[in-house]
């Protein structure tokens, strides 16, 4: 079955991203397809490559990146939400005159339409938030 995953909260502050990760992993292990993981609201903060969590804790961003790499996941960060929170890729940096980027290379920034489309193309939308 085809799933779309939506994550509304950033890493560490809320469990949402953790729960979504374990759900996604379990779905993949069962042979389901993940059409897209969409990061919305503060969820966009899961896409930064600049975190350095304590060594005895999980690395939420890298864990997503590895799962994404292994299963060729489409991990999309909402552009409007990202602009408000300061998640930036090369294109956004150029467009908005920013002198740095912080997006992790395994994530891509795109429009909200990608969420609506994911809900159309998938058989289930599963949302994790606060």
């Amino acid at each position: 079955m085809k799933f779309a995953i939506q994550i509304n909260e950033g890493p560490y502050q809320h469990q949402a991203s953790d729960s979504a990760y374990y759900f996604t992993k379990a779905a993949l292990e069962k042979g389901h397809e993940i059409f897209r993981v969409f990061f919305y609201h503060d969820g966009v903060n899961n896409g930064t490559r600049l975190t350095t969590p304590p060594q005895d804790d999980r690395n939420i961003v890298e864990r997503w990146a590895e799962l994404g790499e292994k299963h060729a996941l489409d991990m999309v960060v909402c552009v409007a939400a990202a602009q408000r929170r300061g998640i930036v890729d090369e294109g956004e940096a150029k467009r908005n005159g920013k002198d740095a980027t912080n997006i992790h290379p395994r994530f891509r920034i795109s429009g909200l339409g990608q969420l609506v489309e994911a809900a159309i193309q998938s058989e289930r939308l599963v949302v994790f938030g606060d």
């Binding site: 079955m1 509304n8 779905a27």
Partner: protein, 102 residues
């Protein structure tokens, strides 16, 4: 069409479980995750609400979230089923849609 309702907040802190149980159609399923698992415990002020819901809803609680918070099967209200992430995926697939009560 059947719905899997997920509730991720404590019933003592927020109104999401109460609201979910009020609007969930008879026959649908409710899965307690994250801080929502406290609603599955015996002897709390929310127990009556959950027991009443068991009359016409299926109620599940996510085991890993339960264990993280120091609780296990023996503290869970009878009739509430402890499940793992794989079963969470099955519930999402078996029902026609998922409704997260955020």
């Amino acid at each position: 069409m059947s719905i899997l309702h997920t509730v991720n907040k404590s019933p003592f802190e927020r109104n999401s479980l109460e609201s979910c149980l009020k609007f969930a159609q008879g026959g649908s399923s409710v899965l307690l995750i994250e801080d929502g698992i406290y609603a599955a415990l015996k002897g709390t002020s929310a127990e009556g609400q959950v027991k009443a819901a068991l009359d016409n809803l299926s109620v599940y609680v996510l085991g890993p979230d339960l264990a993280a918070r120091g609780f296990h099967q023996e503290r869970v209200i009878e009739g509430v089923e402890v499940v793992d992430y794989a079963a969470f995926v099955d519930l999402a697939a078996e029902n026609d849609k998922v409704h997260a009560w955020l």
